[in-house]
């Protein structure tokens, strides 16, 4: 296991990317049963990731550097946007509407990418720096979440 918050969280981003791609593969194969499973797995991974940040990482960061509340608040708002797209996606999967599924995933994918590049480029390095002492503790809690 890694001993870096940034690496741990970045790996989790990539796990979500792979799961989104797996949903798209299921759509292109026209396999709705498979897609339903993939969609559930992808949604859970993504929402769990948001929860880890909102419940563990962001509060810890804000506790040691209060001015971080601006950027973490912004990230939380973007989580909200992605949560509502995830909901829209599961409706489209339920309706077996392939075009809507692909269009929503495309939007979600781009939103995730630009969100992740901000977190990976700015927020995680900031967390590494400010939370150096608590890293082992926070990593344990993130892994347990």
């Amino acid at each position: 296991m890694t001993d870096s918050i940034a690496t741990y969280m970045t790996d989790d981003h990539q796990r979500c990317d792979h799961l989104l791609a797996a949903c798209e593969r299921a759509i292109s194969n026209g396999n709705w049963t498979r897609l339903a499973e993939q969609a559930t797995e992808f949604s859970k991974a993504l929402i769990d990731h948001f929860d880890m940040e909102e419940q563990i990482l962001f509060p810890e960061l804000v506790a040691v550097s209060p001015w971080a509340s601006g950027p973490t608040g912004m990230m939380t708002m973007e989580h909200g946007q992605m949560r509502s797209l995830v909901e829209e996606f599961s409706e489209a999967v339920g309706a077996q509407d392939a075009d809507a599924c692909l269009g929503i995933l495309e939007t979600l994918h781009l939103l995730i990418q630009q969100h992740n590049s901000k977190e990976e480029g700015i927020l995680y390095p900031m967390a590494e720096e400010n939370l150096a002492d608590q890293t082992p503790d926070i990593l344990t809690r993130l892994q347990a979440a």
């Binding site: 950027p71 912004m74 708002m77 946007q81 797209l85 692909l102 495309e106 939007t107 781009l110 630009q114």
Partner: protein, 432 residues
């Protein structure tokens, strides 16, 4: 508030700033296509034909210049955490000056006379200058993916040199100054423009966007780090040697750069093949065609094919196709993004914002790609079968017309939803 730069959404420019660049650009590609359809095979006899010079600048400045400037204004805050200062003012001035400049310069080169020529060139140069200075400020401040930033910085430098050389050539044409062997200066101007500005920008965008859009493996680290500066130094050495008459040095360094771009295109095609997202979306089709055109141009250069063939492959194959493909993603995403913020600001959650798939029809985007491919194939063939020149021009104009109609469609949907969302007072959203 140090270090929070790139996280703020307010840094993204208002959507109408990039949108006006994107909606004007296709008009210039349509004009280039119509010019070819009107003049036919005469335009393609050599790169010195007035029509060829005009079409080249319609595409290079009017189409490519506008799309790239608009995209950079939009992209820098997002990928590099670096907003362009006074973005609305810079955007408005750049857009107006480049539009007037491209039209005037092309008309002047096509035979409209020296006054149009120098006024057009002056306006275009001023447009790039107004753009490059704030861009440089943003790029100096920028952080983020080093590979992309390096390529963007070198591309901006190459743009500045291309413009300077272009102005020098206009001064020569006007008889204000004299240079020995001015064709060598033209070659250098073209090399900085095509290899430096367009080439490095494509490299920078590819490094950033391919792994992001399609979940491909990253470009090899040495390529991200060394390719752009090596190309920049290479063009510098090669063009100095070329102008000084050291033909062998000039040719071999240009050859090395060409080989480098050939390698870049092959790596890109391989990464695309290894992508995780399976969809063959129209943007990807355009990447594909552009990289094959780039390979073709490199081979054409190696086998001493006529310069018009290299020009057609680079300008139309890469320069017209790739930006069209990128716009299929960029404008719908920006539209969704800004509408979403309006929704958050207005609290109108009863309205569902259209996702990207319903903003721009993938089917019509595929039709656009088909027309573009037809134009490219006809254009290449017309170098040997002249009668195909006019159909090639018509296909080029049609492809860009379909692009324009698709983009207008996205803009109209934006307006419709923005109006619906305005019915409640808006407070926190980005200005639009």
């Amino acid at each position: 508030m140090m270090g929070t730069g790139g996280l703020s959404l307010d840094q993204a420019p208002p959507i109408d700033v990039p949108a006006r660049f994107f909606l004007t650009a296709p008009l210039f590609a349509i004009a280039a296509g119509l010019l070819l359809a009107w003049q036919g095979p005469t335009l393609l006899i050599s790169r010195w034909m007035p029509g060829a010079l005009a079409a080249t600048h319609l595409i290079a400045i009017g189409y490519l210049g506008l799309i790239m400037c608009g995209a950079l204004l939009q992209m820098l805050p997002v990928v590099a955490g670096a907003p362009v200062p006074a973005v609305r003012l810079v955007g408005t001035a750049t857009h107006l000056l480049l539009t007037l400049g491209a039209a005037g310069l092309a008309w002047g080169l096509a035979g409209g006379g020296p006054t149009l020529l120098w006024m057009g060139a002056g306006a275009a140069a001023l447009g790039f200058l107004v753009f490059v200075v704030p861009l440089a400020i943003a790029l100096v401040r920028a952080r983020g993916a080093p590979g992309t930033l390096l390529a963007l910085r070198t591309a901006a430098l190459a743009l500045a040199l291309t413009v300077a050389l272009g102005l020098l050539l206009v001064a020569v044409l006007q008889g204000w100054i004299r240079v020995a062997e001015h064709t060598r200066w033209v070659d250098t101007h073209a090399a900085w423009g095509l290899m430096g500005w367009v080439g490095l920008l494509v490299v920078g965008v590819a490094i950033q966007v391919l792994p992001m859009f399609y979940v491909t493996p990253a470009f090899p680290a040495p390529m991200r780090r060394w390719f752009a500066p090596a190309v920049l130094v290479g063009i510098g050495v090669a063009s100095a040697a070329w102008i000084l008459g050291a033909d062998l040095v000039g040719q071999s360094v240009f050859g090395a750069i060409t080989l480098g771009f050939f390698g870049f295109a092959l790596i890109t095609l391989r990464l695309i093949k290894r992508r995780e997202r399976p969809r063959l979306d129209p943007t990807l089709l355009h990447w594909w065609a552009a990289m094959l055109s780039l390979c073709g141009a490199a081979l054409a250069w190696a086998f001493a094919a006529p310069p018009t063939l290299i020009g057609v492959l680079l300008l139309v194959g890469v320069g017209v196709g790739l930006p069209a493909g990128m716009l299929f993603k960029i404008l719908p995403f920006l539209t969704w993004f800004h509408l979403q913020h309006r929704q958050l600001a207005s609290g109108r959650f009863d309205l569902r914002i259209p996702h990207m798939g319903s903003l721009l029809s993938t089917r019509w985007a595929r039709v656009q790609f088909g027309l573009h491919l037809a134009a490219l194939v006809l254009l290449v063939c017309s170098l040997w079968v002249p009668v195909l020149a006019r159909p090639a021009g018509i296909a080029l104009a049609l492809a860009s017309l379909v692009l324009l109609v698709l983009l207008i469609g996205v803009a109209r949907t934006y307006r419709r939803f923005a109006a619906l969302l305005r019915s409640a007072p808006s407070k926190a959203g980005p200005q639009t």
